[in-house]
Amino acid sequence: MEKEKITTKIWFEEEEPDNPFAAKTSYCSGYDVYGDLLGKVSWSEYMYLLFKLEKPQPWQSTLLETIAIAIANPGPRDLSVRAAMNGGVGGSTAASCLMAALAPGAGKNGGAREVYQVMRLWQQCQFDLPMWQQKLSNYEDEEAVEVWPTSEHSPGFDPYGASCATPVLQTLDHLTTIHPDGALAYLSTNRQALEQAADSPLGMTGVIAAAFTDLGFTDEQAEMLYLLLRLPGAAVHSIEQKKLGWRKYPFFGQGLTLTNDPHPLNSKQPTRNTP
């Protein structure tokens, strides 16, 4: 009976003559990774190759690298980074800190699922402004029944923003200079009309989804890349807080109000920074 195999278009290996479980050569979409690519290609070129199975144009690898820098660290107030730091302060394993970052970082509020949703909107609306305005002014999830919670805002826009945040604008402007003819350029031109329809300023997820659209990534590829490329910030902040320890990390000791405490008068409130 023929042995079951893993079918792949991405990876091929030739075995070492003395060990069938060790690869002598590894090919990524036909390129010898250790014999040819190493030392020749940049990280962003290799990422592009892995996802698209083709060599990128120079503008494509530059755009991908710039995206990677823009979103590498959402900062320690971001929900995903905060989750990772909770792992760090408690002394959790490294993997659990990154897994912690992935859970909120996956969400429809500023996370990878929001990028997925905007990718879907690009597929549906393309450069049709009335369609964009209609979808954004009354955004509805594509699936009525799904494990994801119902969306609470138009994807790609910041539901709590007062105006488009400076880093979002700087990222949009810079990415548009790299690729001035496509979704990013369209977003730059029509930003205010779209913000009006969404009743919120443009968010980072909206910018990055436009950039991934220009790179020709699928919605699923964009979702994965957004998860992946935001992990560096989670990693370094969790390590930093691990070293600093839980005493220097907010516990929100006075921040919680229990609205149905059966014995409120008998209680001392928990003190700040005491778990």
């Binding site: 042995k3 079951e4 195999k5 893993i6 079918t7 792949t8 278009k9 991405i10 990876w11 091929f12 290996e13 030739e14 075995e15 069938p20 479980f21 060790a22 690869a23 090919y27 979409s29 036909g30 390129y31 010898d32 040819d36 020749k40 199975l53 060599k55 394993t93 993997a95 659990s96 897994m99 859970a103 029944v145 799904e146 494990v147 539901p159 709590y160 923003g161 007062a162 105006s163 913000e195 009743d199 919120s200 300023p201 929100f252 006075q254 921040g255 919680l256 109000t257 229990l258 609205t259 149905n260 405490d261 059966p262 014995h263 209680s267 001392k268 409130q269 928990p270 005491t274 778990p275």
Partner: protein, 266 residues
């Protein structure tokens, strides 16, 4: 624009009725004192109370336990979520990472949490159809044509589902096998099996109907089964951890069936 006022109001201000730990003193759990009001109930009843804010009767809790123990999770490391745990052990990694990753992956389309979520939604919609005196067979077959599947019916890998009869017998013993969703799910199976699609009910179908008859909402049922897979996941981790590292179904290079580009130079 709505602006940041919602966040300003929420800063250091989390209003909740779920509970709190008054460390060194007491714990409040959904408005009850954990040590004096919830000290005498089983872990499972406690867990379901945490999800639903309802205290279910003992026979209802027993039925939920049976659903978990008989239908949700087998210690077979070939099943995809369990296999993650076995691979994690074979890589000499930790049990918590294995269980977390395996549990997260149990939220799958072809089995697991998503399948259960869709199944309870379907059976609830089907009961509304019947209650409104509409044509059940048309509803079922239209749903099948539109989505090319019916949640709670049909199964990858096998045609029949060995879990249904043992669970249904337990439900009968507990006096909980005659609810409207449960009766309906067998009617739907008859429609689907007699159609050209020849689909049988699967465990998600019977589980969802029984749970719906206990009064669970779709979301509550989803929350309830998220960690139900752990009884298969952990034994698979432990088994692989007790084997020599790296020996869980190792793959030589020849086990890749490459379909991509020919060799080329950058």
């Amino acid at each position: 624009m709505k602006g940041p006022s919602t966040l300003e109001h929420a800063e250091d201000n989390w209003q909740t009725d779920i509970g709190a730990a008054f460390v060194g003193e007491r714990v409040v759990y959904r408005g009850k004192d954990l040590f004096t009001e919830l000290n005498d109930i089983s872990w499972f009843k406690h867990f379901i109370f945490g999800i639903t804010n309802k205290m279910f009767a003992d026979n209802e809790i027993k039925l939920m336990e049976k659903i978990w123990s008989l239908t949700m999770s087998y210690p077979d490391p070939r099943i995809w979520n369990n296999r993650i745990a076995a691979l994690t052990a074979s890589a000499n990694s930790t049990g918590a990472l294995a269980v977390s990753a395996s549990t997260a992956c149990s939220e799958a389309n072809v089995y697991g949490t998503k399948a259960g979520f869709l199944a309870i939604d379907f059976i609830k919609r089907a009961l509304i159809v019947v209650d409104n005196n509409k044509d059940l067979a048309k509803f079922v077959l239209d749903e099948l044509k539109e989505n090319r599947s019916i949640p709670g019916f049909g199964r990858p890998v096998a045609n029949s589902d060995e879990r249904i009869i043992p669970l249904f017998n337990e439900a009968k013993k507990l006096g909980l096998a005659n609810g409207p969703h449960t009766k309906l799910t067998f009617e739907i199976e008859k429609i689907l099996y007699e159609s050209r699609y020849k689909l049988r009910m699967n465990a998600a179908g019977i589980n969802s109907a029984l749970i719906a008859d206990l009064g669970f909402t779709t979301r509550e049922q989803y929350y309830g089964i998220i960690i139900a897979f752990s009884s298969g996941i952990l034994p698979c981790f432990i088994d692989a951890a007790n084997h020599k590292e790296g020996t869980f179904f190792p793959l030589p290079c020849g086990r890749l069936n490459y379909k991509g580009q020919r060799n080329r130079n950058w």
